[in-house]
Amino acid sequence: MEILGLTPALLVLFVSFGFMVGVLFGFFGMGGSFLITPTLLILDYPASVAIGSGLAFYFGTSVIAVLKHYDVGQVDYKLGAILFVVLSVGIELGSRLVFGLEALGIANLVTGVAYVVLLAGIGALFLHRAYTLDDAEGTAEDVDDDIPAIGQQIQSYTIPPMISLTSGGRASLWTISGAGGSVGLVSGLIGVGGGFIRMPAIYYLIGTPLTAAVGTSLFAGLFSGAFGTFTYGMSGSVDLTVVSLLLVGSALGARIGSASTTIVDEDDVIVYFGLMMVFASIGIAISELANWLGTGALDLVSVFLLVGSSFAVALLILYQALAAVGRDDARMRPTTDGGDR
């Protein structure tokens, strides 16, 4: 029996996976599309459909994020508009590259390898952050990141034309185009929204203040997500059923995840998030190895590592949130002598 062209098992998997991804990324403040594309690849969707559907999911979550953060504070609209144009050019080039790689029969391999590197990198960054948080607790030092030397070097370039930023600074159009175009290329090539690289690129390379970088990244991301969906939609490479099911779960999960940030300490779960990314990376590597060996025997292990680790960390957040609510209730309940515990 099939519903909307999917088996009931897949239908439940997509809604529940969307929910868990929503919890995770509502909690950690990311879009989560970079878990969707590799999962679709493991489930044997063609690379272009996996990437197109990942971008469409990112667009849907961006709309929800913009609605949630309608008061995004500072948005540099001029920079956002320029970024939208260069991001769109990058996405278009990335998508053409994917269709070219598909024609050569190596799109799934290239995308898979890119994800292995990307997720392992993000996992390593989060594990490093967990490690520095531990250190900071011991030494009580400020762990705010300074702008690295390479960022300062790039910001110092004054190749005309120079663009005035709302924050008062100025940035070379070449720097903006290079940073935005590269992020767009990665987005179009592997189907991620790219918020986790776009915001740092705006902050570190273009040099806007952090609050403006967040708002401008959100603004540019919404439109580039729409453009990415349009580009892949033109070739019919977006599975609307899958995207819709994922969004149904994700919109609810994101609410619960973002509400949990007020009652669960991020430092308590950040190390598990880092490990989840590393497990996801290993899962995709195993899937690629299985494809190379021509066996489907390892597919179950890949799905277990990728989807299972996401479920485990999301359930951990939900468990900690429920435990915190339970503790608060117990404290608020009046004692027999009339006072609060």
């Binding site: 667009f59 849907g60 939609g233 609307l240 059923t241 899958v242 919109a251 609410r255």
Partner: protein, 48 residues
């Protein structure tokens, strides 16, 4: 997969973007209403 009717590719792609946009807005608003209705109900049940 939901198959769109036979329209030119750019129109189909624009419709796709519009459908996802509307779906996201409806989900955001819908879950917001559910949250507003459910929260007092849950509090009432747990306080009883």
């Amino acid at each position: 997969m939901i198959e769109p009717v036979a329209l030119p590719a750019p129109i189909q792609a624009v419709l796709l973007v519009a459908v996802i946009l509307v779906q996201a807005v409806v989900l955001y608003a819908g879950y917001g209403v559910v949250e507003r209705v459910a929260t007092p109900l849950i509090e009432m049940i747990t306080d009883a």
